[in-house]
């Protein structure tokens, strides 16, 4: 029975991944770190000859894939909440977890800020179209909800919800929503403006309105066949060569860098329980 189940699941996900073999690593990664992760994978290949295949998607989606396919050497979600779940469910070796970079939430608008959005409160202005990532499955959406819940009065919250056109399905689509003018503003990551500098501009939120900052962790998957090889890729990401790649894309390498940009110290990572009325508005 177990063999049949594994065979079925493997067949279903064979296209998504491909089995990890000697000299090859399979990484299930959240899309929040796509540009630098791709570059880091290529750099690691050049340096060591070990091929790094990366499956990108929503952090929860790729965790589902990894669990169902029962394969993969590393789990590299876009934020901490799915790593907490993976650790709880025993899908990664908790002691191998390392933080790669830190993320700060911000408002993102079209380049040139055509709607003159300066503050969080501006997002309640009648007639604006605002989007956030789906807080149920996408980490940056949960950060957005937490910011709104803590900063807005019930009246302001209602006005914001009125402007809230919809939820995007992934971290990168939240950035695309600005690039393709699907919304006038989103609450995303500060780093979005470096993903598409020609079209996206970040509006900084005051430190008081940011409950916590995010981070991108990585850990060795329990399905790995070569724990030492997987650990070496983590060492590369946390080492100077890996960190240099992430710095090129303007990610913060340490919490201190993020705090300096924010002008205040904030809690780092953790899980936020999204209130039910955001799940079924």
């Amino acid at each position: 029975m177990q063999a049949l189940r594994s065979a079925l699941v493997f067949a279903l996900f064979a296209l998504a991944g491909g089995a990890s073999a000697a000299g090859r690593l399979l990484v299930y990664a959240g899309a929040a770190s796509k540009p630098p992760t791709e570059e880091a994978a290529r750099a690691y290949e050049r340096k060591t000859g070990v091929r790094v295949d990366v499956v990108f998607g929503g952090s929860g989606y790729v965790l589902s894939q990894m669990k169902l396919a029962k394969q993969g050497d590393l789990y590299f979600p876009g934020s901490s909440d799915y790593m907490e779940k993976a650790k709880r469910d025993g899908d990664v070796f908790a002691d191998t977890e390392k933080v790669i970079v830190y993320l700060v939430p911000a408002i993102n608008v079209q380049k040139g800020n055509p709607h003159n959005i300066r503050t969080l409160k501006d997002l309640t202005r009648p007639g604006l179209r605002v989007a956030i990532a789906n807080p149920e499955g996408v980490c940056v959406g949960a950060y957005a909800v937490e910011i709104i819940e803590k900063a807005f009065s019930p009246g302001e919250k209602a006005a914001f919800r009125k402007n809230l056109a919809n939820y995007t399905e992934s971290c990168e689509k939240t950035a695309t929503a600005i690039s393709l003018k699907m919304a006038d503003a989103v609450i995303g990551w500060r780093v979005f403006e470096h993903w598409d500098p020609a079209r996206i501009e970040t509006i900084r939120l005051p430190a008081a309105q940011i409950p916590r900052i995010g981070y991108i962790p990585v850990a060795v998957s329990r399905f790995t066949r070569d724990r030492a090889a997987a650990q070496k890729f983590i060492d590369f990401l946390t080492g100077p060569a890996g960190q240099q790649i992430f710095a090129k894309y303007h990610y913060f390498a340490t919490p201190e860098d993020a705090f300096a940009w924010l002008g205040a110290r904030k809690p780092v990572g953790g899980e936020y329980v999204v209130p039910a009325d955001w799940r079924t508005p």
Partner: protein, 258 residues
């Protein structure tokens, strides 16, 4: 006899493949999750939304496809080759690419004007219908053209020599004779619309109680690493989709034989 057995075996293999895949969902089936999904207002909304959007987009597509397919089947005209060539365009580009193309269209001046003055598609119900409509229109035209091709032109000619105007001949001779093709086109396009995911996701977003169709709800369950929830919703979609098609096929067949 050998041919009969071989072909029946092939038919049963189709059932075994799809039936086996559906049956394999049992491994992650959780009765409590399934009951909760069935009872939730959110699932019912998704079911309703999916059924309404698929039906509206199918009817709209057939409204365009029937005359277009008839023209392709009967009349030589300038641009006919081009129309024929473009029919498979939605199948060739992936659904996600089709959704991206729609989004890019809404960034050009005509698209912006349409959204501002006529109807807002992005992140809205109209976006679901549009994504499904664009996905199924080409297939609907292709299938209906094949159906019209199978109706001999001579029968229309005879009707017209007996005094029937072209429109009358079309509605009383061609359309009834092409009914099997029409039924097949309706069923296939409706099913394709019901299961449409990629383009809908791109254009209409994922908000529950607003634009969360069943395929999108399934994706979001998986995106929340909730495999039992995913299985529950897949079963709902399979049951509703196959059930509706079974009933539709029966009704349409009995109407056709009446």
């Amino acid at each position: 006899m050998r041919l009969k057995h071989t072909t029946i075996a092939a038919a049963l293999a189709v059932l075994a493949l799809y039936g086996g895949l559906i049956a394999s969902l049992v491994w992650f089936f959780d009765a409590a999750t399934f009951r909760a999904a069935l009872a939730s207002e959110r699932t019912l909304f998704s079911v309703r939304l999916s059924l309404i959007a698929a039906t509206v987009s199918t009817l709209l597509a057939l409204l365009f496809a029937v005359p277009a397919a008839y023209a392709l089947s009967r009349f030589p005209f300038r641009g006919r080759e081009a129309v024929e060539t473009v029919l498979e365009f939605p199948i060739i580009v992936s659904p996600a690419a089709l959704g991206a193309i729609l989004l890019i269209f809404f960034n050009n001046p005509l698209g912006e004007w349409l959204q501002a003055n006529v109807i807002h598609f992005v992140f809205a119900f109209a976006g679901i219908v549009l994504a499904q409509f664009v996905t199924i229109l080409g297939v609907a035209v292709r299938m209906l053209k094949t159906a019209f091709d199978a109706v001999p032109v001579e029968l229309e000619t005879v009707a017209r020599t007996l005094g029937a105007p072209p429109r009358h001949a079309f509605f009383t001779i061609t359309l009834p004779l092409a009914k099997n093709g029409l039924i097949a086109a309706f069923i296939l396009t409706w099913a394709k619309a019901l299961g449409e995911f990629g383009a809908t996701l791109m254009v209409a977003g994922t908000m529950a109680m607003r634009t969360e169709t069943l395929p999108i709800a399934i994706f979001m369950r998986l995106a929340s690493a909730d495999i039992e929830g995913t299985v529950a919703l897949i079963l709902v979609l399979v049951a509703i989709g196959l059930g509706a098609l079974f009933v539709a096929r029966r009704l349409l067949r009995s109407a056709a034989h009446a």
